[in-house]
Amino acid sequence: MLESIDLSAPDVEEKINQSLGLLNEKEEELDKQLEALSARKSYLETKIRGITKALPNLQIVHSDSEQLAEMISFTCTLAENVSAKVRQLDVARSRVSECQQRVHDLLDLQLCSDGVQTALSSDDYEKAAAHIHRFLTMDQSVLEQTADDVQQDCSAVTNSLTLLQEAAGQLRDIVTIKFTEAVKKSDAASVERFFKIFPLISMHDYGLEKYSAYLAAKLDEASAKSMKTSLETPSNDKRACVVFADLLTVLFETIARLFEVHQPLIETYYGPGRLLKVSSTLQQECDKQSKLILNEFNKQRSMDRKIALINEVERLGTSSSSSALNSNRLDPKDIDLLLSEISIMHSRYQLYVRFLQRRISNDLEVGIKDTASRAVHLSEMDALIQNSDLCRRMQTLLGHYLLLERYYMENSVIKAVAIDTIDKASQTSSMVDDVFFIVRKCIRRAGTSGSIDGVCAVINNACGALETEMCSALRNQLKLGFPSGYLDLTQAYNVMLQGRLQTSDSEQARNTFLVYLNNADVSSECVTTLCRSLCQELPCATSNDRAKLDSCVAGLSSVTAALGAITDYGLQQLRVSAVKPRIGPWLDTFLTLSHNLTQEEFSNYEANEPFVRSLIANLNMLLLEFENVLTNSNYDALIAILVSEVTTQMEKVIMKSEFNRLGGLALDKEVRSLVTYLSNATSWSVRDKFARLTQIATVLNLERVSEISDYWGQDSASIPWRLTPGEVRQIMTLRTDFRSEEIRRLKF
């Protein structure tokens, strides 16, 4: 450290002192380390002494552990020897118990063969069945083996065996016969008695089959009875229009009751998981019965004739002859009732299907533990339901329902449009309420059928009916236009004097036009409301159903686009015939006035407002004519049209005029009055629409040309300009007092 110090350097002393300091610090540190080390010395020595003492002990531990290892391996061999013996013992023991079982079986065999004979001879089938059941639980091959093994007693065992086998056969025959007899005699108690015996004598499938057939027969009987009473229902009875829905309901309820009553019995004596088999037999009977009901339904409700008629009408199109034909023979009220009945039938069917699915799958859940085999059974259940004759018939019926529902909806909508009436008290005519009432009713009815495909189809058809029938009616009316044969005030006064107060044709036409314009606007709202409520009220079982429904509802809601286009079309008609031609002359008066004003003229102008006062009065008159007649949104749209026409035409007359400063000032005030008036007339802000005009007035109201830079510039005070620099220059030239070279020199 010292070597690195240059002794000749001027700060040598300071450096030496620094080094000294560092060395001192180092010394101190080393001292501390030394002290710490010497402090550990005695501790280390004690440790070493301890270790030295322990060394001989280690020797002992080592020899001990070797001994232990030897002992363990010895024990291990011993244990293995023992366990081999235990295993042998175990085999011996199981042989003994097997032997015991055989002895038991042999004893039981004897007991059973004796018992079954006594039981049979005393007609105690339960006891006999119990013996047979015991016999059947014995391992038959083992029994035969035993017979071989116990040679001396061979004949006894074989005798018992054959005897029991014979008895089993005998019992099977007897029970089968007795069961059949009981069924024939409708002896429910005996049926149940023998039904319980089948599983004891290994006749599960047979028993279930017979029992299902028995239940099916009961169903047949009950259905025949209810069919008979239903067909006797007098036609003036209030259930007469839904007898077939009632019949189908009774059928399904009877089946449900059979399940309720007999499922516990089946489950107790045959075990769970058997319901699917029973259901398939019952379903066949249900198919048979529902076929009878539906055939009778088709006959009594003349379904074929109705379907054929509708098909014919549709094929011919809605020409006059065919509509005469259908009005003669298809009464909408009749169809309405029929549609309600079918939707009830379908909803009952859906309930029935859901009942079956729930019952059977719950039973499978309990009865079949293996998931793979349960899945197979579940798909069998689905196939049973889907491929049933009933299912096919209900699908066909739904098809007919949809055809009728479409016919009903279309014709009702056509009728609502045809008998449309205009009520002075209402902004819309009757068809809007009527049409949406019908459409909503039809869709809701389809909803009660419980079929998502059915609802979706009706929604699709509703979309078609609205677009083809209602939209075209609205469009055709609006295409006739808004008659512009306006009376001015004096003409109106003269008319009044002549006492011709009744509404003229053109006034009526104008009114109809406005009502239809409102119809389009309100219908669009109705569509939106309808769609919203459908999404909320129609239930969907799966997410796929929901997606289907949503996309059909989206299709329906797109009718608003057609209605919007119709409304726009009508509003354009209003622009062309009610707004444009009328405000033209009003604005032209601006041209007749001088805008080169002396101070005195200006005061006069300001006091009398020769232009804007009458313009506002006229606009007011025009708006009053529409204010309460049009819907809010149509009225707002009309004001928008009015504003755009006023501003463009105003611009035009300004561009044809000349101004001095005071003329510009007057104009600025006039524009302000106009904005104020129109702002008050409507709920939305019109200021933005007046931006160009306001800016034109501002330019014309400048004191000097250069003053424009106060408004036009980068600074924050500048306004967003709607005029181009070229336009500003052009407007400035309207000022007689602005010099053209000064305008030309302007920089923007």
């Binding site: 889907q386 096919r392 098809g399 079929s451 495909d453 979706c456 289907k548 686009a561 079309y569």
Partner: protein, 203 residues
Amino acid sequence: MEDYKFLFKVVLVGNAGVGKTCLVRRFTQGIFPPGQGATIGVDFMIKTVEIDNEKIKLQIWDTAGQERFRSITQSYYRSAHALILVYDISCQPTFDCLPDWLREIEEYASQNVLRILVGNKVDREDREIPAQVGEDFAQRHSMYYLETSAKEAHNVENLFLQIAAELMEQMRFKELPRYEQEQAHSINGRTTAIGDSCCSRLS
């Protein structure tokens, strides 16, 4: 809300068993389903494809061919942008029924709906209808024609992509004279058929 430029509705029709469901499954899920049951009513599937960097959402309605579902399936014709009429090239009766299907289409579908005739199952050895016969039929009724195999994924992607491209082309064409188009369709009264991009485009 998903981001897509156009939404098109595509409806498949044709006799039961010609392979409509398989075509849709092949296209939407990339599989050839083993032994699924016959379609009941209508099935509904969505797939978004990309044409010229534009996302196009295809809403595919797979209908049941049996007569008893006709009232349900007919209700989807009117708003369809494209109709795919399918027959089985190894089954003459499915070809013989085509005129019946065309009659249905005439009656219920929009006039300017895009119509495509598809001969499916070309993988089969036992062809009964030569390609030329199918093509002639399609030409006579101003339809596009395509032969496919749902089983071997032949031409399936192509079928749907071509439909999407064609519909987009039509839409672009109609979009240019914006105002007049609106006028035109407001007069012929179809909002949901081709030519109404404002409601088809829901993005």
